[in-house]
């Protein structure tokens, strides 16, 4: 955290606002470091960078508290697992749409007697589609889906790698 000489024109009100940010920190953390932090915050200028430092510090402190408790860690892992599941299903949906665009007939996803999803294409033809080349048609139709798929995969990678980054930053 950055420390500077106190600017004389920093008002008491601004200092109070900065101290209020310390309430974002976990109670156990405040009990241990609260008085030291109060004194440090009084020395700090009221700048967006410092406020951001304090907010990020609170998030890291909470991550540390969660990691230190077995039940809280498991609950956080549960939330993380559900997030990954939602992202995987969104990726599966976009992939289904992309695959069905290349298929000549209707696409049906089924397992035994259970039908999960179906994709039907309209039967009528557009003249402009008839004259456009197959390659151009495929590229134009698939482009939004491919972009969406890449975006979802990037988010999934971030969600999978994120906890490791946080763990490293705490250690």
């Amino acid at each position: 955290m950055r420390t500077r000489r106190r600017n004389p024109d920093v008002s008491a009100l601004a200092a109070d606002h900065m101290k209020a940010l310390l309430r974002l920190y976990p109670r156990s953390w405040r009990k241990r470091y609260g008085s030291e932090m109060d004194a440090l915050v009084e020395e700090l200028p009221t700048e967006p960078g410092v406020i951001l430092d304090l907010v990020i510090g609170a998030a890291v402190a909470y991550a540390g508290v969660i990691r230190g408790n077995r039940v809280l860690s498991s609950a956080a892992a549960y939330l993380h697992g559900v997030c990954v599941a939602v992202l995987l299903q969104a990726i599966a949906f976009v992939t289904l749409v992309l695959v069905s665009q290349q298929a000549p007939g209707p696409t049906v996803v089924e397992l035994g007697p259970f039908q999960f999803a179906s994709v039907m294409r309209p039967f009528f033809l557009h003249l402009d589609e008839l004259f456009a080349s197959v390659l151009a048609r495929t590229v134009i139709q698939s482009l939004p889906g491919v972009i969406l798929l890449l975006l979802l995969m990037a988010i999934l990678t971030l969600v999978l790698v994120g906890p490791r980054w946080v763990r490293r930053s705490i250690q």
């Binding site: 860690s73 498991s74 609950a75 892992a77 549960y78 993380h80 559900v82 599941a85 179906s118 994709v119």
Partner: protein, 94 residues
């Protein structure tokens, strides 16, 4: 008594999380339908949810009840697997 209340709390957390996740997934699918210009139908038991995009020539995607059920089970399984793994391999931080 304490164990029972803890178990009920954990169950409630699991149910609320899955509900929010499924609602978020449904919202995502509707947004994707708008972006990809598809007509989406979600079948939830006897209820049907329709989303008609502005393009009438777009494909019609239908998601049936087994898909909704398997989605709920998949979310719960992923969450439980992650939680169990963390609970078993948890070590106190030094």
């Amino acid at each position: 008594m304490r164990r029972a209340s803890a178990a009920v709390s954990a169950l409630l957390l699991a149910i609320v999380t899955i509900t929010i996740a499924e609602a978020a997934l449904a919202a995502l699918l509707f947004v994707f339908s708008y972006v990809l210009r598809i007509n989406l139908t979600l079948e939830l038991g006897s209820a049907h949810l329709f989303f008609q995009s502005d393009s009438s020539a777009g494909p019609v995607v239908e998601l049936f009840s087994p898909a909704a059920l398997s989605s709920i089970l998949f979310c719960a399984a992923c969450g439980l697997a992650a939680a169990t793994r963390t609970f078993r391999h948890w070590r106190p931080t030094t």
